[in-house]
Symmetry: C2
Subunit: 316 residues, 2 copies
């Protein structure tokens, strides 16, 4: 009963992973990162969610921006503007090295799994950080005006277009990354934790990989999620806007309903305690806890609460 | 009698081009840059000699390093080192944008000619800056221990290996770039100026493009060169070392002998005035002038001296 698998998307996911990394030995934590956001930009292969986890665990993350590195400089980007290059997706001078090294390794035939493991080692990140898949899966946002690649929707259009649905290009052919498959199949798996990430575009691509969904369906370890919606708003990002546009109630309860097929338990914030009974009526165990992670202590406390919740479910 | 074509390699070439740009209207100056040094590094297409000219003419050049940009930062490179990327060829944060923009445009099917023209326009460089060819030509340095790609010899190995010869891969299939071909064929061509660049690895690749050599052979405009060897040493770079290793005398006279098939006149430094008669005996006109360019006035004076020399030859 030793390994914990965390499914993680963007900033919220990385925060919980940071908490887990503080309370678990490194060899007991495997992080499955969403790669549906990945794209090729100015010729470089960018993996935003993997990098957010790597930067957060290595202490390099920029806490103000919520992406990229602290103490970043922008001379490359400033010069791109002078030269007529694309500037809508900002790559810092130091951050750019990640994408250049990754792109070179990809071109040399290495897998995203191998590349991520090497980058993690170079940055002193000890837990296993894995992509959900080594095959490309691209999140496409459906809008009334047509389809948008995820970063075009998210960064270039600042989430302004109305969302009518999603498509995960390549998901049908994608296999779970080796570390993810091995962890899901590990008889000593202690818990599967869904980080407080956007259910559509952070967890959605992971669940669109059929063999991951299938392994979750036959899980023996408890799977628990934590709501990214607190008090009817998203802690960060477009989750609430998307839910509203898709005709969903914007609530922890609605997130629980979306994830219901994959989980046994659901963690909601103290603010949403009045939704506990409704969520229990779906057949889920519910834990009420402080879920907003403002600092390191918050992250650690939520990680501990989720692990304790999972362990109680196992022995119940 | 209006256009001047300058054949340019590295730093010495860019200095004379800078002088020419001060004394000629922009529309009368066409610079044919060596692209034998070009290579793909960390996935980016780098054109060192084109960039040296662009940076010099735009006032961005780093006068201390002799390459790259002034006021450069190195956060990309520092992070490459942390991540295990290649660091032997240093790319500054701002400089990197040139290579990324160029690589993207190349991948989109643009020619080096078109890309260089666009970069020049973006940097406010008005004279025509052209590659010698839009087809790739790669300078290979032959050594007793085998072949070395030029930048591996020049930067990684710091010119330490003994040189036994050169090979210009791709030269047989390379055509002159459109601007170079048009200028060589222009009946109003005023002069062809060989900048004080390494005769083997700066001018050599240009002359290895057959249609350039053929156009030079049937030239009607005077072609004059200036010696990069002054007082038996190279002003910059490995020219003197190469000459010695190839069994040549290290002198202006020896450079004149190498370039003899392509030129009508040769400019030597005051220091080497005693070689004038010997060079004249090869059938070349000789001009003795200060050729060491320490500042803007020196560059301008040499440019004016070369143009006056060429004009005198025309009317003689």
């Amino acid at each position: 009963m030793s390994t914990v698998l965390a499914l993680s998307g963007g900033v919220g996911g990385a925060k919980l992973v940071h908490g887990l990394a503080q309370v678990l030995p490194a060899e007991q934590l495997v992080v499955c990162c969403n790669t549906g956001d990945d794209f090729t930009h100015v010729g470089q292969h960018v993996c935003p969610d993997i990098d957010t986890v790597l930067y957060t665990l290595s202490g390099l993350a920029n806490p103000e921006l919520g992406w990229g590195r602290a103490d970043e400089t922008w001379h490359f980007m400033d010069t791109m503007a002078v030269l007529g290059g694309e500037t809508w997706f900002r790559l810092g001078d130091a951050d750019l090295a990640m994408h250049v090294v990754r792109s070179q390794a990809l071109a040399a035939g290495q897998s995203i799994s191998a590349i991520t493991a090497d980058l993690a080692r170079r940055l002193g990140v000890a837990p296993t950080i894995a992509p959900m898949s080594d095959q490309p899966v691209s999140t496409i946002v459906l809008t009334p005006d047509g389809e948008l690649a995820f970063q075009h929707y998210f960064v270039r259009e600042r989430c302004a277009p109305v969302v009518t649905g999603f498509r995960f290009e390549g998901a049908a052919a994608a296999k779970p990354a080796p570390a993810v498959a091995a962890t899901l199949g590990d008889p000593k798996l202690r818990a599967i934790l869904f980080c407080p990430s956007n259910p559509y575009v952070s967890l959605g691509p992971i669940l669109a990989v059929k063999d991951i969904a299938a392994a979750l369906a036959r899980r023996r370890a408890p799977a628990i999620a934590v709501s990214p919606i607190v008090g009817g708003v998203a802690i960060k990002g477009p989750a609430a806007k998307m839910m509203a546009e898709l005709g969903q109630e914007v609530s922890a309860t609605a997130v629980a309903r979306l994830l219901r097929p994959y989980i046994d338990g659901f963690v909601i914030d103290d603010t949403d305690a009045d939704q506990a009974d409704g969520i229990r009526s779906m057949g889920l165990k519910v834990e009420v806890a402080p879920t907003v992670m403002r600092n390191t202590a918050d992250k650690r406390a939520l990680a501990e609460a989720m692990l304790a919740f999972a362990d109680r479910m196992r022995t119940a």
